[in-house]
Amino acid sequence: MSSRVLAVDDIEVDCFQLHIAAGQSIWAGVHQALQQADIHCAQIEFASAWLRASVYHTAPPEASGTTLVKYGAGIDAGAALLVSANATYGYGNGGASLLHCHGLLLAADGRMHGGHLDTSRCIAGTEGLRAQVMATRNSGFELGLDCTSNMRVFHPVRWPEARHGL
Protein backbone atom coordinates (compact mmCIF):
# COMPACT_ATOMS: atom_id res chain seq x y z
CA MET A 1 0.00 0.00 0.00
CA SER A 2 1.38 3.40 -0.87
CA SER A 3 1.53 6.08 1.78
CA ARG A 4 -0.81 9.09 1.76
CA VAL A 5 1.81 11.38 3.27
CA LEU A 6 0.81 15.07 3.23
CA ALA A 7 3.76 17.35 2.46
CA VAL A 8 4.65 20.86 1.37
CA ASP A 9 8.08 22.02 0.30
CA ASP A 10 10.01 25.21 0.94
CA ILE A 11 13.40 26.39 -0.26
CA GLU A 12 13.65 29.39 2.09
CA VAL A 13 14.70 28.37 5.57
CA ASP A 14 16.56 30.14 8.36
CA CYS A 15 18.53 28.30 11.03
CA PHE A 16 19.13 29.49 14.56
CA GLN A 17 20.39 28.32 17.91
CA LEU A 18 17.91 29.09 20.65
CA HIS A 19 19.11 29.68 24.21
CA ILE A 20 16.49 29.32 26.92
CA ALA A 21 17.39 30.89 30.24
CA ALA A 22 17.59 29.03 33.54
CA GLY A 23 14.22 29.04 35.23
CA GLN A 24 12.29 29.69 32.03
CA SER A 25 9.78 27.12 30.79
CA ILE A 26 10.31 25.51 27.40
CA TRP A 27 7.11 27.12 26.14
CA ALA A 28 8.01 30.60 27.38
CA GLY A 29 11.55 30.35 26.07
CA VAL A 30 10.54 29.20 22.61
CA HIS A 31 7.53 31.46 22.19
CA GLN A 32 9.18 34.61 23.51
CA ALA A 33 12.18 34.33 21.21
CA LEU A 34 10.35 33.24 18.08
CA GLN A 35 7.54 35.76 18.50
CA GLN A 36 10.11 38.54 18.92
CA ALA A 37 11.76 37.44 15.67
CA ASP A 38 8.34 37.24 13.96
CA ILE A 39 8.82 33.53 13.28
CA HIS A 40 5.60 31.54 13.13
CA CYS A 41 6.66 28.07 12.02
CA ALA A 42 9.74 26.06 12.89
CA GLN A 43 11.09 22.62 13.58
CA ILE A 44 13.08 22.44 16.81
CA GLU A 45 15.62 19.94 18.08
CA PHE A 46 16.65 20.25 21.72
CA ALA A 47 20.13 19.43 22.98
CA SER A 48 20.40 17.36 26.13
CA ALA A 49 20.19 19.50 29.27
CA TRP A 50 18.97 19.51 32.84
CA LEU A 51 15.45 20.46 33.74
CA ARG A 52 14.51 21.82 37.16
CA ALA A 53 11.01 20.37 36.71
CA SER A 54 9.36 18.21 34.08
CA VAL A 55 5.86 16.97 33.33
CA TYR A 56 4.71 14.81 30.44
CA HIS A 57 1.59 13.03 29.23
CA THR A 58 0.92 9.68 27.66
CA ALA A 59 -2.03 8.97 25.36
CA PRO A 60 -3.82 5.67 25.92
CA PRO A 61 -6.89 4.70 23.86
CA GLU A 62 -9.99 6.78 24.60
CA ALA A 63 -12.57 4.44 26.15
CA SER A 64 -15.75 5.92 24.66
CA GLY A 65 -14.38 6.02 21.11
CA THR A 66 -15.09 9.73 20.73
CA THR A 67 -11.45 10.24 19.89
CA LEU A 68 -8.75 7.70 19.05
CA VAL A 69 -6.64 8.46 22.13
CA LYS A 70 -6.89 10.80 25.08
CA TYR A 71 -4.02 12.41 26.94
CA GLY A 72 -3.98 11.38 30.58
CA ALA A 73 -3.12 13.50 33.59
CA GLY A 74 0.36 14.95 33.64
CA ILE A 75 3.10 12.66 34.97
CA ASP A 76 5.49 14.61 37.16
CA ALA A 77 9.06 13.43 36.48
CA GLY A 78 10.54 16.12 38.73
CA ALA A 79 14.07 17.34 38.16
CA ALA A 80 15.37 15.37 35.18
CA LEU A 81 17.81 15.25 32.31
CA LEU A 82 16.12 16.06 29.04
CA VAL A 83 17.93 13.48 26.90
CA SER A 84 16.28 14.27 23.59
CA ALA A 85 13.28 16.20 22.33
CA ASN A 86 11.78 17.23 19.01
CA ALA A 87 9.17 19.94 18.60
CA THR A 88 7.00 21.59 15.99
CA TYR A 89 6.08 25.27 16.36
CA GLY A 90 3.14 26.43 14.30
CA TYR A 91 -0.34 27.92 14.22
CA GLY A 92 -2.80 26.63 16.82
CA ASN A 93 -6.39 27.54 17.56
CA GLY A 94 -7.41 30.95 16.24
CA GLY A 95 -3.97 31.55 14.78
CA ALA A 96 -2.27 31.56 18.18
CA SER A 97 1.15 29.93 18.36
CA LEU A 98 1.33 26.30 19.43
CA LEU A 99 4.31 24.18 20.42
CA HIS A 100 3.99 20.40 20.06
CA CYS A 101 6.92 18.76 21.83
CA HIS A 102 7.81 15.16 22.69
CA GLY A 103 10.83 14.24 24.75
CA LEU A 104 12.76 11.59 26.64
CA LEU A 105 13.60 12.23 30.29
CA LEU A 106 16.11 10.61 32.64
CA ALA A 107 14.57 11.07 36.05
CA ALA A 108 16.51 11.44 39.29
CA ASP A 109 15.74 7.82 40.21
CA GLY A 110 17.51 6.64 37.04
CA ARG A 111 14.33 5.74 35.18
CA MET A 112 14.09 6.73 31.52
CA HIS A 113 10.64 7.78 30.45
CA GLY A 114 8.88 10.29 28.31
CA GLY A 115 6.02 11.35 26.13
CA HIS A 116 4.17 14.53 25.19
CA LEU A 117 5.89 17.24 27.21
CA ASP A 118 3.83 19.82 29.05
CA THR A 119 6.15 22.58 27.89
CA SER A 120 4.77 25.19 30.28
CA ARG A 121 5.71 22.88 33.21
CA CYS A 122 9.15 21.82 31.91
CA ILE A 123 11.54 24.31 33.44
CA ALA A 124 15.16 24.85 32.37
CA GLY A 125 17.78 24.03 35.01
CA THR A 126 20.66 26.25 36.08
CA GLU A 127 22.53 25.88 32.78
CA GLY A 128 19.51 26.69 30.65
CA LEU A 129 18.55 24.90 27.44
CA ARG A 130 19.77 25.05 23.86
CA ALA A 131 17.96 24.04 20.72
CA GLN A 132 18.53 24.14 16.98
CA VAL A 133 15.69 25.91 15.20
CA MET A 134 14.88 25.61 11.51
CA ALA A 135 12.27 28.19 10.52
CA THR A 136 10.46 27.92 7.20
CA ARG A 137 9.42 31.18 5.54
CA ASN A 138 6.71 30.05 3.13
CA SER A 139 5.35 26.94 4.79
CA GLY A 140 4.73 25.32 8.12
CA PHE A 141 2.14 23.61 10.25
CA GLU A 142 -1.38 24.71 11.13
CA LEU A 143 -3.86 23.02 13.46
CA GLY A 144 -6.78 21.32 11.72
CA LEU A 145 -9.30 18.55 12.38
CA ASP A 146 -8.20 15.01 11.61
CA CYS A 147 -11.42 13.13 10.81
CA THR A 148 -9.98 9.68 11.57
CA SER A 149 -8.97 10.43 15.15
CA ASN A 150 -11.47 13.28 15.65
CA MET A 151 -8.58 15.30 17.07
CA ARG A 152 -7.12 18.61 15.96
CA VAL A 153 -3.54 18.07 14.81
CA PHE A 154 -0.88 19.90 12.84
CA HIS A 155 -1.23 19.81 9.04
CA PRO A 156 1.43 21.08 6.61
CA VAL A 157 0.49 24.32 4.85
CA ARG A 158 2.19 26.47 2.21
CA TRP A 159 1.41 30.17 1.86
CA PRO A 160 1.72 32.33 -1.26
CA GLU A 161 3.86 34.87 0.57
CA ALA A 162 6.68 34.62 3.10
CA ARG A 163 5.58 34.76 6.74
CA HIS A 164 8.89 36.09 8.02
CA GLY A 165 11.88 37.69 6.38
CA LEU A 166 14.92 37.23 8.56
Binding site: S2, V5, L6, D9, P60, P61, G114, M134, D146
Partner: protein, 136 residues
Protein backbone atom coordinates in the same frame (compact mmCIF):
# COMPACT_ATOMS: atom_id res chain seq x y z
CA UNK B 1 37.92 1.51 3.18
CA UNK B 2 38.87 5.17 3.56
CA UNK B 3 36.65 7.98 4.65
CA UNK B 4 35.61 10.65 2.18
CA UNK B 5 34.29 14.18 2.38
CA UNK B 6 31.50 15.04 -0.02
CA UNK B 7 30.67 18.63 -0.83
CA UNK B 8 27.14 19.71 -1.56
CA UNK B 9 24.28 21.86 -0.44
CA UNK B 10 20.87 21.55 1.09
CA UNK B 11 17.83 21.76 -1.16
CA UNK B 12 14.13 21.76 -0.43
CA UNK B 13 12.70 21.37 3.06
CA UNK B 14 9.54 19.29 3.36
CA UNK B 15 7.08 19.75 6.22
CA UNK B 16 5.03 16.58 6.31
CA UNK B 17 2.26 14.84 8.16
CA UNK B 18 1.66 11.09 8.14
CA UNK B 19 -1.87 9.71 8.29
CA UNK B 20 -3.41 7.00 10.47
CA UNK B 21 -2.12 3.47 9.69
CA UNK B 22 0.55 4.64 7.21
CA UNK B 23 3.98 3.22 7.99
CA UNK B 24 6.68 5.60 9.17
CA UNK B 25 9.54 4.29 7.02
CA UNK B 26 7.46 3.69 3.90
CA UNK B 27 5.92 7.17 4.19
CA UNK B 28 9.31 8.89 4.28
CA UNK B 29 10.38 6.86 1.26
CA UNK B 30 7.13 7.72 -0.54
CA UNK B 31 7.59 11.42 0.24
CA UNK B 32 11.05 11.32 -1.34
CA UNK B 33 10.02 9.20 -4.33
CA UNK B 34 7.02 11.36 -5.20
CA UNK B 35 9.08 14.55 -4.99
CA UNK B 36 12.16 13.33 -6.85
CA UNK B 37 14.38 13.43 -3.76
CA UNK B 38 17.43 11.15 -4.07
CA UNK B 39 19.26 12.10 -0.86
CA UNK B 40 17.80 13.59 2.30
CA UNK B 41 18.24 14.09 6.01
CA UNK B 42 15.33 13.56 8.37
CA UNK B 43 15.70 16.57 10.65
CA UNK B 44 13.18 15.57 13.28
CA UNK B 45 9.80 14.10 13.91
CA UNK B 46 7.23 13.48 16.60
CA UNK B 47 3.79 12.01 16.92
CA UNK B 48 2.19 8.68 17.72
CA UNK B 49 2.26 5.10 16.47
CA UNK B 50 0.03 2.09 17.06
CA UNK B 51 3.16 0.02 17.66
CA UNK B 52 6.81 -0.03 16.66
CA UNK B 53 9.39 -2.69 15.93
CA UNK B 54 12.94 -1.46 16.52
CA UNK B 55 16.18 -3.14 15.48
CA UNK B 56 18.63 -3.01 18.34
CA UNK B 57 21.72 -4.82 17.03
CA UNK B 58 23.46 -3.98 13.75
CA UNK B 59 25.07 -7.38 13.55
CA UNK B 60 21.77 -9.17 14.09
CA UNK B 61 18.74 -7.54 12.43
CA UNK B 62 16.53 -10.23 13.94
CA UNK B 63 17.21 -8.81 17.41
CA UNK B 64 14.32 -6.43 17.73
CA UNK B 65 12.04 -5.03 20.37
CA UNK B 66 8.27 -4.76 19.85
CA UNK B 67 6.71 -1.75 21.52
CA UNK B 68 2.97 -2.27 21.91
CA UNK B 69 -0.04 -0.53 23.40
CA UNK B 70 -1.07 2.54 21.51
CA UNK B 71 -0.43 5.33 21.50
CA UNK B 72 3.28 4.62 21.28
CA UNK B 73 4.68 8.14 21.31
CA UNK B 74 7.45 8.98 18.87
CA UNK B 75 9.72 11.17 20.99
CA UNK B 76 12.49 11.94 18.53
CA UNK B 77 13.54 10.91 15.05
CA UNK B 78 16.69 11.15 12.94
CA UNK B 79 17.81 9.45 9.80
CA UNK B 80 18.72 9.66 6.18
CA UNK B 81 17.41 8.69 2.77
CA UNK B 82 19.47 7.52 -0.20
CA UNK B 83 18.76 5.66 -3.42
CA UNK B 84 18.88 1.90 -3.02
CA UNK B 85 21.19 0.56 -5.72
CA UNK B 86 19.11 -2.56 -6.09
CA UNK B 87 15.68 -1.00 -6.54
CA UNK B 88 16.58 2.48 -7.76
CA UNK B 89 14.11 3.88 -5.21
CA UNK B 90 14.71 6.00 -2.10
CA UNK B 91 15.39 3.90 1.00
CA UNK B 92 15.13 5.42 4.47
CA UNK B 93 17.20 4.50 7.52
CA UNK B 94 15.32 5.96 10.47
CA UNK B 95 16.38 5.88 14.11
CA UNK B 96 14.51 7.16 17.10
CA UNK B 97 13.15 6.95 20.59
CA UNK B 98 9.60 5.91 21.44
CA UNK B 99 7.63 5.53 24.65
CA UNK B 100 4.66 3.28 25.34
CA UNK B 101 1.50 4.52 27.02
CA UNK B 102 3.04 3.95 30.45
CA UNK B 103 5.96 6.22 29.52
CA UNK B 104 8.56 3.42 29.25
CA UNK B 105 11.11 4.30 26.56
CA UNK B 106 12.86 2.31 23.82
CA UNK B 107 15.34 3.21 21.08
CA UNK B 108 16.54 1.68 17.85
CA UNK B 109 16.17 1.56 14.09
CA UNK B 110 12.60 1.49 12.77
CA UNK B 111 11.76 -1.66 10.83
CA UNK B 112 9.98 -0.97 7.53
CA UNK B 113 6.32 -1.94 7.64
CA UNK B 114 6.22 -2.25 11.43
CA UNK B 115 5.55 1.30 12.65
CA UNK B 116 2.00 2.33 11.67
CA UNK B 117 0.96 5.89 12.48
CA UNK B 118 -1.68 6.25 15.19
CA UNK B 119 -3.09 9.83 15.26
CA UNK B 120 -0.39 11.70 13.37
CA UNK B 121 3.33 12.15 12.85
CA UNK B 122 4.87 15.50 11.99
CA UNK B 123 8.29 15.43 10.43
CA UNK B 124 10.77 17.58 8.55
CA UNK B 125 12.89 16.24 5.71
CA UNK B 126 15.68 18.25 4.09
CA UNK B 127 16.97 17.36 0.65
CA UNK B 128 20.75 16.95 0.33
CA UNK B 129 22.30 17.66 -3.06
CA UNK B 130 25.81 16.16 -3.20
CA UNK B 131 28.15 17.79 -5.71
CA UNK B 132 31.68 16.39 -5.51
CA UNK B 133 34.04 14.36 -3.40
CA UNK B 134 36.31 16.91 -1.71
CA UNK B 135 38.68 14.44 -0.09
CA UNK B 136 39.04 10.68 0.09
Amino acid sequence: MDSKLIGGRYGRVFSARLLCNDDLVESVEELCASNGVRNAIVKGGLGSLFRARLEQAAADPSRTVEVQGYAVELLSLTGSVAIDAGTGRPAAALFGIVADNRGASYAGKFVRGAAPTCVTIELTVQEWLPEAVVAS
